[in-house]
Subunit: 308 residues, 2 copies
């Protein structure tokens, strides 16, 4: 089985009309409506760094695409197309089938087309470059938070990090936490709803403290948040109550929730979004003129996730 | 030195006005003129597969971007932006500096902007996703070759494969051949000139025989080419005269020249392009209605490059 037959057999399922030419030429060809701007991002997931060799190919595929989609969500984008560069130590058809089927499921779920790729021989590694579109000049940036903005996060924090911690210690975790780790849900719908509402937005991949820090740095502002306001699942609340380990929620990583700031006048719009999308949106603090992040009720220091 | 400082120090040099937001947010934001379609492609280069650990970081960077630009060239595209996903076994600042400086040089030469990336820890591997634009419905496809079309290739074939062969045998090769291997020139200008002229086009990365085969398969046609008409450098002519090894030109790989077909009526336009761009364009055969590739004057069989 060579590169071309791998692609034909597993990765050739284009359907969207805006993809003029999909897999099979030197490049894919795509139409972009002129009322939109392109948003694009790339992420690599490597065995033993971002996932374990014991993880199922289905989970690896799901996570690889969803963490990229999360970047589109953070910009308020509509997912459009992606390319897949995959390195494999060898051709394992069962693995490939599990991977490709799962990739197709999440691609269909979020209406994004696979338009091209490259397969190479090497350490198992998956690089996805995802591209979306946002209405011109409406993109949600990190750099536009304003003093007085209310800071929100979606859903709960720390569940994925808790699942990972338990796994590393050979201990069990609730399936809800394991799903958060293996199959994070990119908040595409929420991002879309925040276009025109939020002043700034980021997806929380490396932990709230670090990622909110990126908003503050880019915007030249600061923030005060309350540790007690962080949205936690029952599991996490019990864990933190018994250990005092707030860092799992502040810096655990792998949340893939959105952290965003809105003008106070948009608080009601947010309530509406919350009920429409059936997603918890929790105010955790406010943006301040004075730079720096103050975390009321927390005096420790967390070591955030670093890529090296 | 963490991921963010690597990016800031080495990979943050955006300048193009059409890049609204470059490196530093969840996604880059790019404007696309509505008269154009997007063309996009991804290629991974891995240590010990596509390059040697002894190759200079400058050569690795040059080749990584140029092989991707070659795909844009094959579509007749204007290069626009790219993302870089790089895996590094460790942080070697001298290596990174050599890599980034060279990447910047070729990016500037071909007027393409680095808009985003990801750095991870792992086996040395470089994945570039390159995006360009082509006037709407003018893109050069593999699938549009017509019986009677004349088949051309640019420049000469086999020089890179010869350099690689010599290198693998610890023998010297002329610097011209070594440059063809390490610093292939993407034929962006030629591709642009062929828009409206060529019926089909591909870049020769895996060898003429295999890549012309892709044009023929996609177009549902065949071709007759003459082995004696293949454009060869002096070095290659001498090598083939003494060894009879035509496969180095037919299937050696790494040429990154364009192979394209034109209607006979466009022969004169090609002469003009040839003199304007100062590049040799050689007719090697014709497209036939009957499928299959006939190589007059050659009866052997070559093993083409396979990715696995």
């Amino acid at each position: 089985m060579n590169e071309f037959s791998i692609i034909d057999k597993y990765f050739n399922w284009n359907t969207d009309n805006s993809i003029s030419v999909g897999i099979g030429d030197d490049c894919a060809v795509i139409d972009i409506d002129s009322d939109y701007q392109i948003v694009t991002s790339v992420d690599t997931l490597i065995e033993d760094v971002h996932f374990s060799s014991l993880d199922s190919p289905a989970d690896i595929a799901y996570k690889s695409l969803s963490v990229n989609l999360s970047d589109i969500a953070a910009m308020g984008g509509i997912a459009k197309y992606f390319t897949l560069a995959i390195s494999l130590p060898d051709i394992n058809e069962k693995w490939l089938e599990g991977f490709a089927n799962s990739l197709k499921i999440i691609a269909n779920k979020y209406k994004i087309e696979l338009v091209g790729g490259d397969t190479t021989k090497g350490q198992l590694s998956i690089t996805i470059n995802v591209t979306g579109v946002v209405e011109r000049d409406k993109v949600l940036l990190r750099s536009n938070a304003k003093p007085g903005d209310l800071i929100f996060v979606s859903n709960t924090l720390g569940d994925a990090a808790y699942a990972l911690k338990q796994k590393q210690n050979n201990q069990s975790a609730p399936s809800r936490c394991i799903d958060r780790l293996n199959k994070p849900e990119p908040r595409i719908e929420l991002g879309r709803s925040l276009v025109g509402i939020a002043n700034s937005c980021i997806d929380i991949s490396d932990g709230l403290e670090q990622d909110l820090g990126h908003i503050l740095d880019s915007s030249g502002v600061g923030a005060i948040i309350d540790i007690d306001s962080l949205p936690l699942s029952e599991t996490l609340r019990e864990y933190i109550d018994s250990t005092g380990d707030w860092c799992i929620a502040l810096a655990g990583g792998d949340d893939y929730e959105l952290c965003f700031s809105v003008d106070q006048s948009n608080k009601e719009s947010l309530s509406l979004i919350q009920s429409q999308l059936n997603i918890e949106l929790t105010q955790i603090g406010v943006v301040t003129q004075e730079v720096g992040l103050v975390i009321n009720g927390f005096s420790g220091e967390c070591s955030s996730y670093r890529h090296f």
